[in-house]
Symmetry: D5
Subunit: 151 residues, 10 copies
């Protein structure tokens, strides 16, 4: 096992180990005692773990000990490098922002005034919505409204 | 009043008239008997109205009659032209896709297998979530799961 | 043989092995009992195999066993990274979308109304069209029409 | 009626007149005695009409006579300016090239050797495919195979 | 005087009127009773005015009354469209983010943990710093720290 | 330990060693006797160290001796490659330039005339601003004003 | 004559008037009593004139009086919007930066240490260099060296 | 020592060896008996050496003999890949082209007519210009004027 | 007839007039007594005419007299703005540079050494090459070889 | 010698071996009995060799036997990745398309009607054109004209 040199390498090792060992994301979430949603985002290199959680991740995936500090340090986040994502599932999310984003902007402003929905003080949840015409993905987001204030 | 030459001009006229007349999006939704969410998207040029709805939009905003066919024809959709959006509210939606998108992808695949959440057979809803630490924006999305099938 | 760390490496190994062993795509399709079209797309990393099919791919190309889970997991899809493709054959497909795409859009809307041709519930077929002036490529696509619905 | 200064303005006038007069693309195709597919592409500024066809287009849409030479001159073609198209229907066509393009390339090479499917000596056809699970769009393309030859 | 159709036109009219009338930004700030910093940002179309402030802006610059609602509605913000800014003064700000941004990120994380400095709950101040070797620009920014929280 | 081939590799080694050894940026600044702000920028490959400072960095992080000349040579600087940064903290800095940059430009010109705030004869400081509504990040910048002169 | 709304329109009017009246850039420089080099840059909208110079420009080119304040205000500068310039003469300047820029960087650092050649405290001069093999363009630049200093 | 596979690897080896051995660019220029300016450009992979010069470079930097043919073959040149350079010194050169390029174009055309300053039949020289207000960088360029001719 | 404000407007007027009057490019070339190739390039705004030629162009196309100086001034040239051209004919030229450009580079270097084929001291000719298998376009280019010289 | 994994590696090995062995492109062309122009394009990875030719290439450059199938399979072609090429020789070819491309388009359409010059059924030839004012590069291209046909 070689020492990890950055968070990106740790993320790669987690992805590889999870597939090789056949661990489900639900199992990982149980181990770190957070929601599946947050746990996956954190494992994919977007969030910082606590020291206890980092230890559990290292154990679960048999990672080199040098992964420990990287898992606890605020990572460089974000996965989109400018162009729209090519993956069809990710593109559909991008398309929703493109087609419905201006409407979402109008409705938030009509309800709350000038400001934004925070992407930091934010959480989301995914659920299956049973439906005879074909099941649906339910994606619920909740972000604090942050108003612009004059100064 | 000059004749409309394309849907984009009709959209501009609706935006201008709504601000000048002080009509709320809720009023528009009531007039066309759809959700506020869909109505704003349609007024911003992303959806096609029925003939009856188009007539109500023309009446509500005092538009030239040539707007009628344009409002009923499938428009050229989408508002993002490649680079991430500069507007802070729209950027936060883009950032959510960038930071949490890969996690959403993993979880949908774990629950449903290979496929996507449709952005066509899709609806969304925005609501205020009262919270003593500052109210939150609740943004709920529901899209049909479409599986890839071998052929 | 080293363990595979992601699907992209598995795809690279399949491409190398197929050329080295001189296996035709038709042979691969026979092995996994699907159409040639779907089989090639899947081997190039765009589709997920069933467990049985993954086993046959590993056997056919003498791959390391760690390829098995990667072949069954929904991959990150898409091969275009923003700019038009430089390869002349791929560019001709891109040019068809550029030159004839708006006409295709008009005709689908005239026939079906507002909506799209699905790229998920989709299949295609390639055939040789004998022609004295030079044989032709026949490329047939079939995708479910998905209508936008008001909500 | 003002004189037309370029083909793009003629295209805009055709689009506007067709919507205003409620003419279907099928009617236009009948008038110029070509397929619907080619006719729409030509009306959208991608193809050159014959002198007789140009006269029929001018009559059908009540265009200024200065449209006549513009309709017969080879136009500057193509509608994609670099970034993937934002419109969902056009994006699905782009995604098909992205996801299935490399497979199409492999299969054409396996069947025909090195070369391309022409996008010039090319035609396409759109049809409705009735299907109890929801009708499908059938999009058939036929392009001459052009081989690379050593020199 | 023609009616305003969007906020961008109102911004253009303010810029033109301020230069033509020779009004200083300090005078504008006095009129709306906010800091110079916020006032300029708002006049350049980045912030929403209150009803009283909008009235003062219209009076000060002799604008058409239709400017009133536009000045009070949350605008579409942001001035950078992807590429770095060409203007040398703006580029220096961009360069500071490029050269010193990663250091700023490290230090905020060392002091506060994982999270961001808000650009919404944010204010800034510009002052002249007298200096015998040439006066300096002092640019002070203050933004609320927003931590990421597990969910 | 292998010899360093460029400054970028030295930067990578510093980042890895700092996390592995758990050294704080404050400790590094103490070692080289400069501000934390400058020290972090220099360690991240943006500034040149003196010979004495380079020696202390090599000792502190146990680097190969070949790092010494690289640390003292003017590096190739800058971390933004065109597109806006994807990391949320860095993006907020970018957004501040996008939303408030034109206002900063106006106010510097009103106070100083035509010219720029230098990004070379420049320093910055980060501090925690205690606040009952949540602590704030205070980011102070000071750059020499450089006027354009006619020639 | 219509009132000017921004500096860009004034620049356009100067360019049009200079060609229509057949005034040489040398004549303009004589009128404003600066070098030809600075004068052309200023007329093309890159520099601010003094009040006296602005008056001479307005007189020389018969411009509307509303041009006066625009000519004296620090303009938004820069003519390159991201992609390399398409004009062959401008491209050669860009190519010189591309081919010889890294060598210039090395030599300035070898002579002066870490820092830059100012593009603000900067002047340039163009002259004809007679040469039997074909005359040469001599382009001399002089910019103050600005060192980075630790803080 | 491994064999070199391309010119880029030779360039990397020269850069590494020069820093490790502490050789100045002036020393290199003396060895190959050319100006410092041309020598640095050539060492950075932009120019081809003669056989004698290549031998001296290999000796001076202790390079593997396989570097010899690479140093004499016309290289693939240019260091800018589309976006403006991020390094502050290189960016200032880019900014000079952006701010003063159109003025340079006008003055070359006024003096020489339609054509360009060659970037091939071209040389440059860098010198220190002593100045009590701070030394200046003098950058002199000389390129043959190449006129466009009708044909 | 309105006065021309720049060369681009003159180019637009020539294009419009040529189509409206049905003048062939051969006729224009005869009028200005140059090759068809150069004449079309000049009419499309890429080259400067002599005073006599400008007069003939104005007469032939019935242009406003203000076109005269614009036709004689070195224009801002180039038609490609970064992305590959969308027009199929222009794209084929771009593809030839993409597919065969590196081979052309190798062969020019093998024959001439380091340098370029000038695009300024350059001419081209287009001819029909009769061929029983379908006529061919013959495109002959001739550009002076310009060697790089050490300095 | 390691086994080749794709055509790109084979191309790299050919480039390295040719420089190391000092083989001229003319020698390679003689070996495969095709023109120098086609041979270089093929060696640079743009064309497929016959089985006999592939054997000669492997022998001439002492390549591993696994190169054989790669040299005979239709490669992924094209060398331009979106932005204009930085190399000065390649850029001049790009500039010719930019400056003269629209004129070439006009003249091909005037002579042949709507269609393109094929870049597939295409050949080119490079020759030295002796000239007392400096030798010239003669670049002759011949491509089949492919007309658009109505369908």
């Amino acid at each position: 096992m070689t020492a990890f040199k950055n968070r990106q390498d740790v993320t790669g090792a987690i992805i590889t180990a999870r597939v090789a060992k056949g661990v489900s994301w639900g199992d990982v979430a149980t181990a770190v005692e957070q929601s599946k949603e947050w746990t996956v985002a954190a494992c994919l290199g977007q969030m910082a773990f606590t020291s206890v959680q980092a230890g559990k991740i290292v154990a679960l995936f048999d990672l080199d000990e040098t992964a420990l500090p990287w898992l606890q340090i605020p990572p460089s986040k974000g996965s989109l490098s400018g162009a729209p994502p090519a993956d069809p599932l990710l593109y559909r999310l991008h398309e929703i922002v493109s087609v419905f984003g201006p409407a979402i902007k109008e409705l938030i402003h009509e309800e709350f005034g000038d400001g934004i929905m925070s992407a930091i003080d934010f959480k989301f949840e995914i659920a299956r919505e049973a439906n005879p015409a074909g099941d649906r993905v339910s994606l619920n987001m909740s972000g604090k409204f942050l108003p612009y204030k004059a100064f």
